[in-house]
Amino acid sequence: MNSKPILVVGGGPAGLAAAHALASVGQRSIVVEKENRLGGAPILSGYAKLVPSGEWARDAIGGMVSRVEGNPLVEVRKGCRIEEFSGGPGDFTARLSDGSTVEAGAAILCTGFTHFDSVNKPEWGFGTFPDVVTTTQVEQMISTGKGIRCPSDGRKPQRVAILLCVGSRDRQIGREWCSKICCTVSCNIAMEIREELPDCHVYIYYMDIRTYGLNETYYWRSQEEFKVKYIKARIAEVTSDGQKLIVKGEDTLVKRPITIPFDMVVHAIGMDPNVDNKTLAPIFGVGLQEHGHIAKGSAYGALGETSRAGVFVAGAATGPETIDDSIAQGKAAAMAAFALVNQKTAVAA
């Protein structure tokens, strides 16, 4: 095969899956990753055990990384971005931030998402009270082996509240999507907390529980085996009395205002569109959809296509996605890009 390599932008689960899929059919690729490490969010943010596999992120995604890094058909460029992108299908030229230029037959954008910054919901205390943390921080407490501790003084919390939909499903901050995985991740985290600290009470405050599909077992097990308590309420504010965090809201099922003390409050943060999308879109000449994710073609005929021929997209770059789905999309986009550069079939527009 003499076709030009395929450019894979972003080395998270989607990009790693795409590069590996291309290598497995003998197609060369170049992975351009802006950070100095491959692996995407699960590695860069230090996630602990993944749902739904239960495997540690460092093993599961780490395995994907080494499979790609050791592959002679994949060229990895870390700490690097694309600054210019020109040409047409089968014949693109990209200029990289390190000054080099690469030629590519096609490009797959696997640029993922940006974690919601909880500071944008000041009423929930993040950034004001050290014991208000995010799911990402809790993942790190678990994956580093430090365990669940209150950041203020390192004590083991006796009462933990997890607030769902922080940075999702909220018109006030212009985020109308559901981030899809945070319910399941939160159920899982709740069980991990109860496992490490059996005397710690864990409450989850929810509007809906969206542990869709087989993830429902996370919801059931957390309730049935781990006695996690679910309260239908969207919290009004998180304050402090100087010692404990004070969570206020309405317990909607009993029409009761609630004011409850907690040691730790966890924000189940959502997945924002990648902050880079505003610069990526003009560089690659691709359209964004209404929420700012990279717009993708119809799943029925053109999965993985963007508004520009020869430029494909996969994973959380298209909207909130799980790892499993990002991997599947990475492979689907690889298939479409491979077909294009090898002129096997004309890809339906």
Partner: protein
């Protein structure tokens, strides 16, 4: 029937000042009506575990508040205040004082099990109702219900003799519940029975009443059952911190 919610605005919390001027504005009378906030400090976070320790309550923590039990409930259809879903929630959240407000209706469950067949999570709401009524009795919030007293009389007899003797159960039950032995319907029943009963059976009944026959070899079985029952009772009392 829509799920009935209990209003938490209680008349005793409505406060009105007959004479009140705020910032120069006269807000006397109903202009000053406000609801006194009730801060509940007496959450009993062990409540769910206490109910779960009693027979029938084991699966209470499965409940996800869908309301299927309440909207299928026989008693709820006639008394909207009878709301198993609501009580299960109060128990799970440890709102003991709220639960106690309904202590005089919780026992009204008729054990029809319609809720049991409606519940998608296999919570066994009927069992939970039973466990809750039992909890109320053990904690001394409600007197023993008549059915509990009947069960006790029945059990005591079985444990003592391995048999039951109806006349004795009725006498014991009436004595425990403070009812007169000579009740019209009972007298009438006895009269009619006497008219039709074969002589031999009547004689046997009288004999059994006086001599209390026991099942042969019962003492060992009886002791084992008694020991088991006491063990269970002790366990339950311990779970409720009553020891």
């Amino acid at each position: 029937m829509p799920i009935h919610e209990q209003s938490l605005i209680r008349p005793e919390n409505l406060k009105t000042h007959d004479k009140l001027v705020l910032d120069g504005v006269d807000v006397s009378g109903h202009w000053s009506t406000f609801i006194e906030p009730r801060v509940v400090t007496d959450y009993n976070e062990a409540l769910q575990e206490e109910i779960a320790a009693l027979p029938g309550g084991e699966h209470i923590h499965r409940c996800w508040q869908c309301g299927s039990c309440t909207n299928s409930c026989t008693v709820n259809a006639v008394n909207p205040d009878f709301n198993p879903r609501f009580w299960i929630y109060l128990i799970r959240m440890g709102m003991e004082s709220e639960l106690l407000r309904d202590k005089d209706i919780i026992w009204q469950c008729v054990s029809c099990n319609k809720c049991t067949y409606a519940c998608p999570r296999d919570v066994f709401p009927e069992g939970v109702m039973k466990a809750t009524a039992h909890w109320l009795e053990l904690q001394g919030h409600t007197p023993k219900s008549k059915s509990t007293l009947f069960d006790e009389e029945f059990t005591e007899q079985v444990m003592a003799t391995g048999k039951i003797e109806e006349g004795r159960i009725i006498r014991g039950f009436f004595a425990k519940t403070g009812q007169a032995l000579m009740q019209d319907w009972l007298v009438e029943m006895a009269k009619r029975l006497a008219r039709r009963l074969p002589i031999k059976l009547g004689f046997l009944m009288g004999w059994a009443t006086i001599f209390r026959p026991r099942t042969r070899g019962w003492s060992r079985a009886g002791e084992a059952i008694e020991e088991y029952v006491h063990e269970q009772q002790a366990k339950q009392r311990k779970a409720l911190s009553l020891e």
